[in-house]
Amino acid sequence: MSLTAYLIIFVTVFIVSIILKLSFTIQKRAFKCKWDGAIEADVKYGGGNKFDLYLPADKSRESYGLVVYLHSGSFNTGDKKDDAEILKWLSAKGYVAAGVNYTLGNNRKPVSVYDQSLDIKDAVPKVVKQAEKLGCKINGMAIAGGSAGGTLALLYALRDAKNTPVPVKMVFEMVAPAGFVREDWTNYGLDKDAKAAAGMFSPMAGKLITPEDIESSAYLTAVKNISAEAWVTEKSVPVLMAYGKLDKICPCATGRRLAEKLEKCGVPHDYIEFPHSGHGLQNDDRIYKQFVKKISEYLETYLPVK
């Protein structure tokens, strides 16, 4: 065989290997399911935002659990359609599943995490109302999300749960910034650089935070409204969390801090750390499968399908 032939074979196999690796990720495989429900798509709820409802095939039950899943995207990108697989998976289990969009920030028009959390607070009653209009009376809910969506889910469950139209029973999230304590944000150098910390936390909180506020710890009051861990009490709902130990984007220290708080308050929770993975939980497939099994266990325990 000629050298050219070997080279062509090498390059072809190399490219096929890349395509296979990117196409058959655990995240896609883990939520694969047979689903024959219905979608009510793009229901407007305010501020130009919309949600999708994934309705279970069985419409004969008296009432249903609702699971709201919030998309990732660094608070600036993403869409509910990115989560179609997990939403179908949840609906196939017998829940009404809702993917909810929220106002995204950009350089020209920044939006604070606090404002985004108010979008979710605004959306949930409308999601419940729409589900009921479609024949699915809601008896309780769980809220969940990945990364930025996880932060918003935690805020809804831990900060806003007392004002919800239906009881929040649990929350699960993946790689979400669970708090904004500068000592946890070492990967961005915020533990040492007060100016950088102020620069990052200010727009997220939607409040002016100065380097002096950072140095004096006065900033903790300003970021409280976006720090889920600051809202943990003995009455908080159960929390299931997954974090990558080597995450460059959202330090797992924020999840550990939340887990410590939950432990201290006696709140049921599970903190699952992926030892070889980063923000994509991409290198620990065995643990990912265990995490997905744990989501099912939490749902069966705290929001059982009746």
């Binding site: 190399f14 992926f274 980063g278």
Partner: protein, 42 residues
């Protein structure tokens, strides 16, 4: 094909396949964080 060519072909396919997977893992780790080895077998 000779035996040597077959062996060479097998080695090339294995190296190319593993190289592709390792390359993706390396690239994703650069973006998201993660270790090159451990956890998944590539």
């Amino acid at each position: 094909m000779t035996t040597g060519e077959i062996i060479a072909l097998v080695i090339i396919v294995i190296v190319a396949f593993l190289g592709g997977r390792l390359g993706v893992r390396y690239y994703l780790n650069r973006l998201l964080g993660g270790s090159l080895f451990g956890g998944n077998i590539l």
